[in-house]
Symmetry: C2
Subunit: 209 residues, 2 copies
């Protein structure tokens, strides 16, 4: 790879993407970093710096073409190819995530549901039947699976993740309250709800006010 782009920059890109999408829907064709900075409550300088990590998408004296920039950021974020996803752990949260993926961006496609509980086998969620985790190996070695959602209890998450890594899964969306160790080349994105809620609690007591 060339120059390393910092996590701080990367984590801001989806937010740019969202705002540009909304501008696009409003029929706005161009926008300057100054205007966008007002909208998003960040500095214009930061916007220009962030974007220039990936290339010069703007035009001197004009600003940025909304549609073009939206498209470019989508490309940067990898939304131009389809990621096939399985959900492992179909409790309340797993079900919600499954629905979420189906209703969401077409860059993400739900192709399988698995649970550790044999009793759930055969139940369907959004028309997709739940399989037992025994069937993971067959499924993952015979089909392209890009991302596995880990939405099972934390006790099981590390061993299931290790198994999935051995089948070649390259990305985990981890909702279990545990850190998943992965070899390089395998990505983990954590959604730790409990930590998020504790941060809110902090802001409401010691912190913010």
């Amino acid at each position: 790879m060339e120059k390393e782009i910092s996590q701080a920059v990367i984590r801001r890109m989806p937010r740019y993407y969202r705002y540009l999408g909304e501008l696009l829907e409003s029929g706005i064709e161009r926008i300057s970093s100054r205007e966008l900075s007002v909208l998003m409550h960040v500095t214009a300088s930061q916007i220009r710096q962030d974007l220039n990590n990936f290339g010069g998408f703007g035009q001197t004296g004009y600003g940025y073409n909304v549609s073009f920039l939206h498209d470019e950021i989508g490309r940067i974020l990898g939304l131009k190819n389809v990621n096939d996803i399985i959900v492992v752990g179909v409790g309340n949260l797993g079900r919600a995530i499954a629905n979420y993926i189906i209703a969401g961006d077409e860059a993400f496609s739900l192709i399988g549901l698995f649970d550790l509980d044999k009793q759930k086998k055969g139940e369907t969620v959004c028309g997709i039947p739940i399989m037992h985790t025994d069937e993971l190996k067959d499924f993952c070695t015979s089909r392209k699976v890009d991302i596995a959602v880990l939405s099972m209890p934390k006790e099981n998450a590390p061993s299931v993740a290790a198994e999935l890594i051995s089948y070649g899964i390259k990305g985990f969306w981890n909702f279990a309250h545990v850190d998943i160790d992965t070899p390089s080349g395998v990505a983990v994105e954590n959604v730790h709800l409990s930590e998020s809620l504790m941060n809110l609690s902090y802001e409401m007591t010691g912190g913010g006010v």
Copy 2:
């Protein structure tokens, strides 16, 4: 307030809390910043700096008492008092969050469910009946409500949040794909699933590998 503590530090506290909780369960009584740093894959220096923002919890030559430190961080995070929560928007995600809160830490108590759809009124989730958002005013002005979960479609989130702010709600756990503007003294913690998934997508294509 005294000295401002940075967001970076605060966001690490829940993770310390989690690790200390696990150590506590394993019956480990003391730990040094060095040992903890190995466990958590961070530097010992950072751990000591982070903790010393809140006070000297350790003992020279000894390290930290696990139980004491766990307790102190819990106190810092505001987990010693109960936060009463309502969920507004009882779709798949709202239901999952409701279950999550009920099953989770006793510092968070689910006391009401609301939906914008009148058809859902009377349905129960975990034994709690769903009310219509018309009833928010009565409910929020007659009871203590600390936190509102925003799990409705993004179109409705800003107006509902504004209404809740007028009733005195001081914290929002926002799952809607929109930024919520709040006056000072009102906290917002965002869980933007779409942005999280895009970050994973990025890591798997352009980024990490």
